[in-house]
Amino acid sequence: MTTETINESLDDVHNDDHHDHKMTGIKRWLYTTNHKDIGTLYLWFSFIMLLTGGALAMVIRAELFQPGLQIVEPDFFNQLTTVHGLIMVFGAIMPAFTGFANWMIPMMIGAPDMALPRMNNWSFWILPFAFAILLGSFFMESGAPNFGWTFYAPLSTTYSNGSTAFFVFAVHIMGISSIMGAINIVVTIMNLRAPGMTYMKMPLFVWTFFITGYLLIAVMPVLAGVVTMLLTDTYFGTSFFDAAGGGDPVMFQHIFWFFGHPEVYIMILPAFGIVSTIIPAFSRKKLFGYSSMVYATSSIALLSFIVWAHHMFTTGMPLFGELFFMYCTMLIAVPTGVKVFNWVATMWRGSLTFETPMLFSIAFVILFTIGGFSGLMLALTPVDFQYHDTYFVVAHFHYVLVTGSLFSIYAGAYFWLPKWTGHMYNESLAKWHFWCSLISVNLLFFPMHFLGLAGMPRRIPDYALQFADFNKWVSIGGFAFGLSQLIFLAVVIKCIKGGDKAPAKPWDGAEGLEWTVASPAPYHTFSTPPKVD
């Protein structure tokens, strides 16, 4: 108690011109409007959700370890896959990026805080309730949602197990949280940049979050709309997706994927930003083709609005539609290719060193590209009829979301941990985390490509005997990958508790305003904006 008082009074000395000084204990976190505190909350929350969603995946992989039904019933298996997907998308990846945005954007653009600090507090603190509702439905009579994270009607309406209302309200809250977070990010970037920081001088990290913010503002309301339609279809007798009343279940898929495709870029554009920050730092070179990166990110965002129906090739679209969506989808490979080549060109003839953030970033570039290639294969309409709803699709989106988004989050976490905690993390333990993750994640997801090509459908608790060997290896990879993430937890806890003192700029090649402040970053930074030339 006395030390806390001393700390508090010390803070008061340092920040005597600020009204909001740190409160103590739980109140500090409940009432905080400080971007760094909220960033920390987001990051911890997303890590807890990662472990929760991961635990569900462990049960899924345990069930799939061998053919036949061993551990769970098919209906419960469906609940596991559904909630696993929802938690990883809305609970792990998206909040982690919001955490990065909160922590780093004000420090990168020389702003004292986010533009809307009180709303920032709200947008975080409603999230735990959303996931309490979602996870709580496991303990309800109905069980958790079992209709897949894509909640296609009529699975989620006519044939729902009764969990639709819980699901809808959880998604509403997540959506409101994301929209508030996105508005905050966009307003901060538009209005709080340090004098002299023009848009084209912003770090690419800030650019990607800026564009992601706009994507969120554009499509999260559509998600809110479509789940509202589900709700009224299920409980209030409307017929948006019910053919009996003149509705159309295929329309559900159109509206859902109109949200859903930009959503996948919401989960990868910030990853591009993180990797574009880290690769130059450890190559000791400027990012190759900064402006082309900005334009590539923007074109990916724009194209994401006109490709949604590539998720629906098998719904009986006319040939023209299939061709249109196929070519538009393949067009996205162009700006994405620009990015990949820019990263490689940044590394070309650089003075590379391979600290853990760099290792994760390089793994990101290679493995995300593999995920991109399988995406291209899926974009081809004729072959999509074979790949649709198989493990090939599962392999594809796990390569882009796990070895893509999640690896970039790890890269970023290691990169900025010294700035966040003031201590260097344990490099050798971190390397263990990297190599264990890298090997196990490929053992986990790579054989899924072959399973899919051989015809193993996704979302099934049991499978034909010929898939048994691969599934065994996939499960072993899954367990190993799950356990490897505990190493990360250990690294972070060790780093918070102590370790070598981190200098203001622990990475000699790093650039940006965040390295001009001390490590750990003081509670308030850039109260007077820095000058940027």
Binding site: A244, G245, M251, F259
Partner: protein, 186 residues
């Protein structure tokens, strides 16, 4: 200090301008989600994308009969979950020339002990052909109330447009029968 507050005020005004715009976008996009519903219907109406056929009768308007082409028209029926009816086409398949008018019957029987109002919803496959399948008279235009145990033969009169794309040689007309008693009552 006073200079600082002045800047703060300007900053806040700027903020609220941007916030207002963004919130407007949020509401507009929420509305857009719902606007997609009628837009989708209109779009499908024009292009015939989703296999929906005309929902009220049209007058016969073909310019003669093209006897050089023969189109196979198949009829299938299915019962939605929970409707205790028997519902099947009397003729499973007929051949028509484009422009030729045909009349077929469907048989329905309410096998339950309660009165039920049914609604048959048609769908044509391939979807692109839906716009060329013209129904002059169809039981699906109205609801079908059947008393307990009652049976009925219901007619469908149709023709296929002369300009049906030449690659289409077979049309499948599928009826799904729904129990809408609850919805009609309320």
């Amino acid at each position: 200090m006073s200079e600082g507050t002045e800047q703060e005020v300007i900053k806040q005004q700027n903020n609220s301008k941007v916030i207002k715009k963004l919130v407007l976008v949020v509401f507009a996009m929420f509305g857009f989600g719902f606007a997609l519903v009628p837009l989708y219907d209109v779009f499908c109406d024009i292009t015939g994308l989703n296999g929906k056929t005309n929902s009220s009768g049209v007058a016969y308007a073909a310019d003669g009969i093209d006897t050089s082409r023969t189109i196979k028209v198949q009829f299938i029926t299915r019962m939605a979950k929970g409707i205790p009816w028997q519902f099947e086409p009397v003729t499973n398949e007929i051949s028509v020339h484009p422009g030729e008018m045909k009349f077929v019957n469907f048989y329905a029987k309410n096998k339950s002990h309660r009165d039920i109002i049914g609604q048959a919803v048609p769908s044509v496959s391939p979807g692109i052909a839906a716009g060329y399948f013209q129904k002059i008279e169809c039981f699906c235009f109205t609801q079908q109330p059947l008393k307990a145990g009652e049976e009925v033969e219901m007619g469908l009169q149709f023709y296929v447009d002369l300009d049906l794309p030449s690659e289409i040689t077979t049309l499948t007309l599928s009826y799904t029968l729904y129990d809408i008693s609850g919805k009609v009552d309320s």
